[in-house]
Subunit: 322 residues, 2 copies
């Protein structure tokens, strides 16, 4: 049985120059949920009938699965530079531990390493996988740019927001599913079902992320509650509140958006407005819609233990506490 | 006949979000010698017997040729951020015209765009071309890291230096030649000859660059003379001087390396030491050796108009004034 953590650990970064490869090793060793490569492997497993991550077809998926994880960690590394984030997974970020130039250059090399891993995809599958991988990588960069653009825009619709998180988060999960399944021999209908499953769990995942930031349990959430509110981040909750509020609540909310010096008071007040407007319930309805859409895709796939684990995963993601 | 400048201009960057694609368009429109895609096309043309950049085999090389140029411009964009360079090709750099985060993210997207272009390589050639492209991209990043490392090292040998410029400059030219030839049907012996030609003209090119910085004509060179001397850059000339100097000259040279406040005087004094030690002649000998090694490779290729242009190119590069 393939152990994705072991596979990531066994990647060899003991190469020269050390200044280029040490930060890559450090960034990848910090852990994380490894959800993207796991999705690729489970997708493949579903197609070859659920031996649960075993056998030749799954072995063939591994290079692409690793490429997805290295790519994801590359985006985190460069995002942390752009956000000036000091901590990632409980450790100093690369640009803090080394410096910004190191984070830029080692990040670039990580993106190249993702493509090196991708070149381990069987030759007959490589042209299509490379196209999807490029499409995915483009989506993530476009989504990141939209997220930056939103900070400076006074009007962002829920639709704009859904488009942004689809690009920034969902296309990576969707392509992880599609690529894994394709390498294992999925039919076009199955490829599309896997893609749509990934897309919808990604949307549900991101909205749950926004919800936990306000309503999460500080003990299990791992981050400070209310961070998005303090930063005036245009989340699903804020945009829903702005779209559905009556004139009075909207004025109150806009007032708080300009108060950047009273964080605790601001978190309490904005949360109270959210509660009054029922935005948490609206988020839950949207999340459940996307979870249901994801689950519906599974009917188009072979029914086996791997498909069952995809069912559980979709349900867990929507109910997660951290 | 393929016009590489037109092909670059016809790439479509009119996509959303504008904040991501506008800087890419700007960076690529600034021009440059387009030497890498030109080498790929001429290499292909040599193999298909010198119709001079025409016909189906050459058309098939175009996506890879464009990928090489987009990749090269990506490295310039990120290098300029790392070097805090204000000007590139007479225009403000992307991180000055926009900001650093834009330069990082649009640069990342440019690297992805290079791989998107590369996926236009014919399917049967793609696996090998992707491997070489990845090897080339890795070399450039490793070379960049070594160049940074050298700044902080007290001892750098000529051998270290040649290894660095081979990675930072030559592997890109070498792979441009090899990839172009391979797509056009070069045999393994021809592929290797094309690769070695690119490698050696790259080395000659870089040493000529170092020489022009000291001995170039200010009217044609385009940059201020003596920039490398002022910055204590470990060039072929400086490292040769340090390796060949007697104790007295070496002490004098090391003294000037610590004087960072008397630039004009420093340029004159260091140039005088170079003249006394004959480092310019040493550079010319090494350059001629590599030019000869490049030219010798051409005997292994079909002899036609394209091969003749490679002969001229090698001779011109070594004798260029700017």
């Amino acid at each position: 049985m393939i152990d994705i953590n072991k596979a990531i650990e066994s990647l060899n970064w003991n190469k020269e120059p050390r200044g280029l490869y040490e930060p890559i090793e450090y960034a990848l060793a910090a852990g994380g949920k490894r959800i993207r490569p796991t999705l690729a492997l489970i997708a493949a497993d579903t197609i070859v009938n659920g031996g649960l991550i075993n056998g030749d077809a799954i072995e063939q998926t591994l290079p692409a699965a690793l490429a997805l994880e290295v790519f994801h960690n590359f985006t985190l590394l460069h995002d942390d530079v752009m956000d000036k984030a000091p901590i990632r997974r409980g450790q100093p970020t690369v640009h803090v531990k080394w410096n910004e130039n190191t984070a830029i250059l080692s990040g670039d090399q990580m993106l190249i390493e993702a493509y090196k891993l991708l070149s381990g995809v069987p030759d007959d599958k490589l042209p299509q996988v490379l196209k999807w991988f490029n499409e995915m990588a483009t989506g993530v960069c476009e989504g990141q740019q939209l997220d930056v653009d939103f900070e400076h825009m006074s009007q962002v619709s829920i639709e704009d927001y859904m488009h942004m998180i689809e690009l920034k988060t969902s296309v990576l999960l969707a392509n992880a599913m599609r690529i894994g399944g394709y390498i294992a021999g999925a039919t076009p209908v199955q490829q599309e079902a896997l893609y749509q499953y990934g897309l919808h769990i990604g949307l549900a995942f991101q909205i749950q992320d926004d919800t936990l930031d306000v309503y999460g349990d500080p003990k299990t959430f791992g981050k400070a509650i209310g961070g998005d509110i303090c930063a005036n981040k245009k989340t699903f909750l804020l945009l829903t509140a702005l779209e559905t509020a009556d004139a009075e609540s909207k004025a109150e909310l806009l007032g708080w958006l300009m108060a950047n010096d009273r964080n605790e008071e601001k978190i309490a007040a904005v949360t109270a407005i959210y509660n009054r407007l029922g935005v948490r319930q609206a988020a839950e309805v949207t999340m459940e819609e996307h979870t249901a859409l994801a689950l519906a895709q599974l009917d188009k796939l072979p029914q086996n233990a791997a498909t069952e684990s995809l069912r559980l995963l979709a349900e867990q993601l929507a109910n997660r506490k951290s």
